[in-house]
C-alpha cells in the first residue's frame, strides 16, 4: 500500500508539473462545455425555421400556416408568392421550405362536399438534416389534423401534455454534460496512459521499476487511483461550470460516482493494454487516437446514440464508452438508477477484463 501511495504521489507530482496533461484533464473539458453550451444551449435554436410560399393565399391556407406556427417547433417565414420556389431556396440558402399550391382551399371545399380531391404540398430541403425531419413531422401533424377535420372525423387517440411529477425541467446542458464527463473519462486516462507506457518503455523506466519491489499491478493501481482523483476534480469543475453558467439541473448521484470510478479503472487499464504494443510515443498517440476518437463520437458523448443510424447504434453497443455515457445520463439527468445500474455492471466487467489483461500482458522484463 505504501508503495502504491508513494508511486501515486511521485506520478501525480510529475503529471501536474507537465502542465499539458493538466490542461487536457481539467481545462479542456470546461472549454468544451462553454463552447457547446454557447452554441446549442440558447433557447431559440431548438426551433426550425420553415419558409412557406403560400400561392393560394386564401383563408384556408392562412389557417394552415397559423397551425404550423402554433406547433412551437417551427418559426415561419414567408416566400413571396410570385418568386420561383426552387430559385429562391437556392438564392437564400434555405434549409427547409414548404409550398402551398394554388387551389388548396378549393380542394378542401370539394372534399368537404364529398367530392374526391387531393392537393399536394411540396416540402423541399436537405433530407439528411435533422431540421428537415422536424419540419416533416410538424407539417404532417398539421395536415393530418386538417384531413380529420375535412372528413368530419373525431380523433380517437389524443395526447395530453402533462408534466411528470419529480422530473427536472431539463435543458440542453443537462443532456450534454454527462456526455462530456464520459468523454473525459475516456480521453484523460486513455491518451495519458498510452503516452506514459510509450515514454516508460523508450526511456527504460519499466526496466528501472523492475529492479524495485513495486509490482506491475501496484504500478497500475497507483495510476488508476491517481486518475480517479483527477477525474473527481475534473467533474467537480465541470458541474460547477454547468451550474454557474448554464443553470445545470443534472446532479452527481452516488451511482454517477460509481460509474466514474469504474469507467476510470476501465480506460486507465485500456490505455495500458494499448501500451503493451507501443514502442515509441508517436505510435502511442496514433493508436490511442485511432481507438479513442471514433469511440468519442460513436458512443454518444456529443449526441445521443438513438440519433444515429441503426447500424451505427448496433456498433455503439460494442463500445465501452456507450455504457458510461448512457449510465451517467440515466442517473444524472433522468434519475433512473435502475437503468444506470446495468450500465455500471457492464462498465465494471470491461474494467476487470482490461485491468487483468494489462497487468498480465505488460512486460517489464526483457526477453
Amino acid at each position: 500500500m505504501n508503495r502504491v501511495l508513494a508511486d501515486m504521489k511521485a506520478f501525480g507530482t510529475q503529471y501536474i508539473r507537465s502542465r499539458v496533461g493538466t490542461f487536457f484533464a481539467l481545462v479542456f473539458p470546461i472549454l468544451l462545455i462553454l463552447l457547446f453550451g454557447a452554441i446549442f444551449g440558447s433557447s431559440g435554436s431548438s426551433q426550425v425555421t420553415l419558409y412557406v410560399q403560400d400561392q393560394d393565399n386564401q383563408p384556408a391556407s392562412h389557417a394552415f400556416t397559423d397551425a404550423l406556427n402554433k406547433t412551437n417547433v417551427l418559426t415561419i417565414r414567408a416566400i413571396p408568392p410570385s418568386a420561383d420556389f426552387s430559385q429562391y431556396i437556392r438564392d437564400h440558402s434555405i434549409n427547409v421550405a414548404l409550398q402551398i399550391p394554388p387551389g388548396f382551399q378549393d380542394a378542401l371545399a370539394k372534399a368537404e362536399n364529398g367530392t374526391r380531391a387531393t392537393v399536394n404540398l411540396t416540402l423541399a430541403g436537405d433530407q439528411t438534416q435533422s431540421s428537415y425531419g422536424i419540419a416533416v413531422s410538424a407539417v404532417d401533424a398539421v395536415a393530418t389534423a386538417f384531413n380529420l377535420q375535412v372528413a368530419k372525423a373525431a380523433p380517437v387517440v389524443n395526447i395530453l401534455p402533462t408534466s411528470v411529477p419529480g422530473l427536472r425541467h431539463l435543458t440542453y446542458i443537462d443532456l450534454f454534460l454527462p456526455g462530456i464527463i464520459g468523454f473525459t473519462i475516456l480521453s484523460t486516462p486513455l491518451f495519458g496512459m498510452t503516452a506514459i507506457c510509450a515514454e516508460y518503455r523508450s526511456r527504460r523506466y519499466f526496466k528501472l521499476l523492475a529492479t524495485t519491489k513495486l509490482s506491475k499491478a501496484q504500478w497500475l493501481a497507483a495510476k488508476v487511483v491517481f486518475h480517479i482523483v483527477l477525474l473527481f476534480v475534473s467533474v467537480a469543475l465541470m458541474v460547477l461550470t454547468g451550474i454557474l453558467v448554464f443553470g445545470l439541473k443534472a446532479v452527481v448521484t452516488p451511482m454517477a460516482i460509481l460509474i466514474i470510478i469504474a469507467g476510470t479503472i476501465e480506460f486507465t487499464s485500456l490505455g495500458m493494454v494499448l501500451g503493451i504494443f507501443v514502442r515509441d510515443p508517436e505510435t502511442g498517440a496514433a493508436i490511442a487516437n485511432a481507438i479513442g476518437f471514433p469511440m468519442m463520437f460513436l458512443a454518444g458523448s456529443f449526441f445521443p446514440v438513438d440519433a444515429m443510424p441503426s447500424f451505427l447504434q448496433a456498433g455503439a453497443r460494442l463500445l465501452p464508452l456507450t455504457y458510461i455515457n448512457e449510465g451517467l445520463r440515466a442517473t444524472m439527468t433522468f434519475g433512473t438508477d435502475a437503468t444506470a445500474f446495468i450500465d455500471l455492471l457492464v462498465t465494471l466487467g470491461f474494467a476487470v477484463v482490461f485491468f487483468v489483461v494489462a497487468a498480465r500482458g505488460l512486460s517489464w522484463k526483457s526477453r
Binding site: 508513494a6 508511486d7 507530482t13 529492479t211 524495485t212 522484463k365
Partner: protein, 345 residues
C-alpha cells in the same frame, strides 16, 4: 572528511539493525574471503536468441566486498549477463546465484539488498533529486527521514542540486542521482552498468571517486565498462568478455603481466627511416603508424636497449618508454583497438 559522513552520521541515530551502511564492512583491497559464499556465482550461463549466442557458457564468482568488472567491447554480452543477474532476463541455461538465491526463482527475497544503476540510466524528468530518492526508497519498503534523504544526496555530491528538476541536471549529475537511487535500499551488492558512458572526463573522474568510496564501505560492486582505464583504475578483478565468452580473468596487474608484452620503447614520428635504422642495429621493431615500437619483455633490459637506440640520428619527435596496459591485453586477446577511448570490436 568523507562524503559518506552524511550517512555515517545517520548510523548513530538509528538502531543498529537499521544502520544506514551500504553493507558489511568487508575487505578493502579486493580479493574476497575464500571461506564465505560468493555474492555472485555464475556457472555455465548461456543466453541464446534465435541466431545469436549473446552469452555463451560463462562462469565466474564475485566475492564479498570485491569490485568486479566485466570488460568488453559493445555487443560482447556484458549487459545481457548483468540483466540476468539483476533478475530482469531469464537465462537459457546454466546457473546464476546472487546473494545465495537462484535468480530465476528467488529474486523477491533479495530485491531490497541489490542496487541497480542500469545502462543509459535516465531519471524522472519532473522530479527533484530529493523527491526521487524519497520515492525510490518507498519502492523498497523503506521510509527515509528528511535527514536521511539529504545525507544520501550529499553522499553522491548533489547537495547543491537537491531541489533542481532532474531534467535540468547535467549528464554526470543524473548518473549520480541514479547511484543515490540505487543505494536507497542499503544494498549489499550494486550493479553499475556502464556508469560513465557518455560523460566528459571530469565527470567520469568524479564518478570514479564516488564508486571508490562505495567500495570502501564494503559494498560488493559489479561494474561493466568498455573503458579500459576505468576497469584498470577501479576493479580488483576483471573478466574480459568477447562474443559472449570470458576470454581472460584476473586482476588488472595479473592480466597485464600475463597477456601484455612487458615494456616497450616508442620512437615517436621516426617513420620508415627510423625503422630501417633500428633494424640495422639488429633490434626487432615494428612500425605503428609513424611510430617505431621496440618491445622490451624484461624491464632489466630497458637501460641497455635505450643506450642502443640513443645514437640513432633519424629525425623524430620524442623517445619514451611505455608499460603494457589493458589495452595491450585487449589487442592480444580480442584483437580490439581503442577508438576515441572506447573499445571497438
Amino acid at each position: 572528511m568523507s562524503r559518506l559522513s552524511g550517512l555515517k552520521g545517520l548510523r548513530a541515530r538509528r538502531p543498529s539493525n537499521q544502520s544506514f551502511s551500504w553493507g558489511h564492512r568487508g575487505r578493502r583491497d579486493g580479493g574476497g574471503d575464500p571461506t564465505a559464499e560468493p555474492v555472485i556465482d555464475v556457472r555455465g550461463l548461456t543466453k541464446h536468441y534465435a541466431d545469436i549466442k549473446a552469452v555463451d557458457g560463462i562462469s565466474f564468482e564475485v566475492e564479498k566486498g570485491q569490485m568486479f568488472s566485466l570488460l568488453g567491447p559493445n555487443g560482447a554480452g556484458k549487459t545481457t549477463t548483468v540483466e540476468i543477474l539483476e533478475g530482469l532476463r531469464d537465462p537459457t541455461s546454466g546457473e546464476a546465484r546472487v546473494l545465495g538465491v537462484d535468480v530465476r526463482k528467488g529474486y523477491g527475497k533479495i530485491r531490497n539488498r541489490v542496487g541497480v544503476l542500469p545502462q543509459d540510466f535516465e531519471p524522472f524528468d519532473r522530479l527533484k533529486p530529493r523527491e526521487a530518492v524519497a520515492y525510490w526508497a518507498h519502492l523498497f519498503d523503506r521510509t527515509l527521514t528528511k535527514e536521511e534523504v539529504a545525507g544520501l544526496i550529499r553522499t553522491v555530491g548533489l547537495a547543491d542540486r537537491a531541489d533542481t528538476l532532474a531534467m535540468n541536471l547535467s549528464g554526470g549529475e543524473r548518473r549520480r542521482l541514479g547511484i543515490a537511487m540505487s543505494l536507497v535500499g542499503k544494498p549489499k551488492l550494486v550493479f553499475l552498468d556502464e556508469p560513465t558512458t557518455g560523460l566528459d572526463p571530469g565527470a567520469r573522474r568524479e564518478l570514479w571517486g564516488l564508486i571508490r568510496q562505495l567500495k570502501s564501505e564494503g559494498t560488493t560492486i559489479l561494474l561493466t565498462t568498455h573503458y579500459l582505464d576505468e576497469a584498470e583504475q577501479l576493479a580488483d578483478d576483471v573478466a574480459i568478455m568477447n562474443h559472449g565468452k570470458i576470454v581472460a580473468r584476473g586482476s588488472p596487474a595479473d592480466l597485464i603481466a600475463k597477456h601484455g608484452q612487458g615494456h616497450s620503447i616508442v620512437l615517436a614520428g621516426a617513420g620508415e627511416d627510423g625503422l630501417s635504422a633500428v633494424r640495422a642495429r639488429g633490434v626487432v621493431a615494428e612500425l605503428q603508424g609513424a611510430d617505431v615500437v621496440v618491445q622490451v619483455p624484461l624491464a632489466s633490459d630497458m637501460r641497455r636497449m635505450l643506450e642502443k637506440l640513443a645514437s640513432i640520428d633519424t629525425p623524430l619527435n620524442e623517445i619514451y618508454t611505455r608499460r603494457a596496459s589493458l589495452e595491450d591485453v585487449f589487442l592480444n586477446l580480442v584483437g580490439a583497438r581503442m577508438q576515441e577511448g572506447v573499445l571497438a570490436a
